[in-house]
Amino acid sequence: MANKRNATVLVGLSLAAVAVIAVWKPTVLIYGIQAAGLYASIAIPMGLILGIVHIVNLAHGEFMMLASYATYMLCSATGMDPFVAMVPTAAVTALFGFVIYRLTIRQALKAPELNQLILTFGIAIAMTQAVNLIYTSQTRKLSFEYVSASIDIGELSFGIFNFVFVLVAILMVVGLRIFLTRTTTGKAALAVGQNPKGAAIVGIDVDRTYGLVFALASALVGMMGALFITRSSIFPGVGSPFTMKSFCLVAMAGIGNIPGILGASILLGISENFLKAFRGLRGWADIVFFVLIITVILGRSIRGKKA
């Protein structure tokens, strides 16, 4: 009961803080939420893999990078729009993710966690460097008119395209929730995630489920990779910073808590942009991310101890 009251107070306080910021510095809120959408939609697939297959995929950002290159090639060759190209890209990356899973990660599932971690680290290096050899480190970017779509409110003009990523993140959260709670496969996946041995005993094919979840997460990453090229340049190293960011966000939300990733992203996005709004504090904006992660993790551990 006390927990519930605490939560209500917390939500109330956050809403009040958001309201104050919205009136005083509306751009902080706008840009913060836009940034959060991007963070969350890249982190959610990683959260899915970590929650069910229990693997930290250090090649997560590289999967996205590869999907971005595939989309770039497709779009520049055929003139297709990335919002259309994301369908074939997602299909291809799903297959690619499944193959990578069967060939490598599956073999290391019984090994200690660390082996899986370093395995995916090796995969990340090989993928980045192969792309670097083929396409060089020169960045690539296609121009799309709609990326600069904007809205004027009085004196204020701001871009609205990045809200697309907020939408994508919400769709991912809702879609995954429906998948995991309403479908047979999804329920099986959730059971495997909570207790693989128990799931195996009741007759769920754990190996098939892992492969499926890996393919699904890869498809989502592939989709994000396709959309990513609308707003960002791509180059071989473009994915790796997002691996760490996603990993931190997933840990902040707590393993298995997919809606939490969206919440954590919004908190971080707004706080980062809050610091950026002040001259002299701009250089410190990055620190918020890490301070918040440590605070949340330590806070949770202390609360866990009390309970």
Binding site: Y31, R140, F158, F235
Partner: protein
Amino acid sequence: MKKALVILVFITMAVSVFAMGDKEGTAAAGSAPATIKIGATWPLGDITGKQGSMAAQQAVDEINAAGGINGHKLELIVIDDELKADKGAAAIEKLVTVDQVDVIIGGMASGVALGQIPAMKKYGKVVVATGAASYKVEEALGADANWYFHLHPWDYNQGQSYADGWAAIQAKYPTIKVGRIFLAYEEGAFGKASFDSSKVLFGNAYTFDGAPFKSAAFGGGDYAAVLDAAKQYKPDLFLWAGYDADALPMLEQAKAMKFNPGIYLGAPPGWPADFGKSPLANNVMLYGMWAPAVNDISPASKKFYTGFVAKYGVEPATYFAPLSYSAVYIVADAIKRAGTTETAALIKALEATSYASPLGQTITFSPANIIKHQGIRNQKILQWQNGRQEVIWPFESATSKPVYPFPAW
């Protein structure tokens, strides 16, 4: 229990690998005294270093095809510095002690150069550097490093040349008025150095301010905050110092925020593939050392460009290609005049260098703030016009007139 044995096996393995390398080197040096060896380090995984090394090889092949230097063939030995100081330093040690090169060229990142300087100082071999813009490198070299020939402008040289350039442009084209300058700089070493030197050089003549941003090259790519600050400042000249990954996204975000300065200028080390094809790119200005347009005014550039495209089937994408090409020609020319690769004579010959480079200017060496041998001092001011980079300033290398103001979208 076998642990120690395992260590021994590994140590023997490691030692033998490098001892083999040692032998190869000395054997080659003994049997073929006629080749002149140029050693080079670049980051081969980066487009700058990759194309720099390709262009240097092109120059070596051209010189050899024309009969070499005083009958001696040239040989280029390139080692990847992997953009890491320790790897770069080890590469210098290998070039000097194992490959026994006569001259060292190359370099890109200042952070790697700082790691290499102690090794370079130890051997005192002639170095013709194609990179390293940070004044920290010059401080680390000190005034005694008379064997160090620095082709690339120092950060303060570049800042000075921009100040000169804008003064000259305003004098020649009275419609162009620059009063307020805003610099958006990436928060790393490159951007911070640009900001510091610009603040000094522009601070007096102009109203100047700036703000940092996290480059997309390092996982950033959100320019809303910095563009917001720039927009409020209402600059005549908006300048950004970042990487090629920032070029188009920043432009797109500026458009979305209706930020429309009279001059929109970028200073990345290279530009994205096909930047010119974007409708937003037209009339964006840039700082740079070279563009294919220089072919129109410089026969050396034309020769370099057609040779590069014929040999490799791609366009040179960064100025590190013609710069590295120049480094080889400058070294070859000096050795030819000195008639030897002996250090003191070579330094003397290099000091007398006057090379009409593909960069569209003649390279000579003169003292900088600390070191004695500084090559190029200025960058050029260029402008994207109809998908092509045209030189606007210096006027003697100009290929086009500036279009002003930057068109509203």
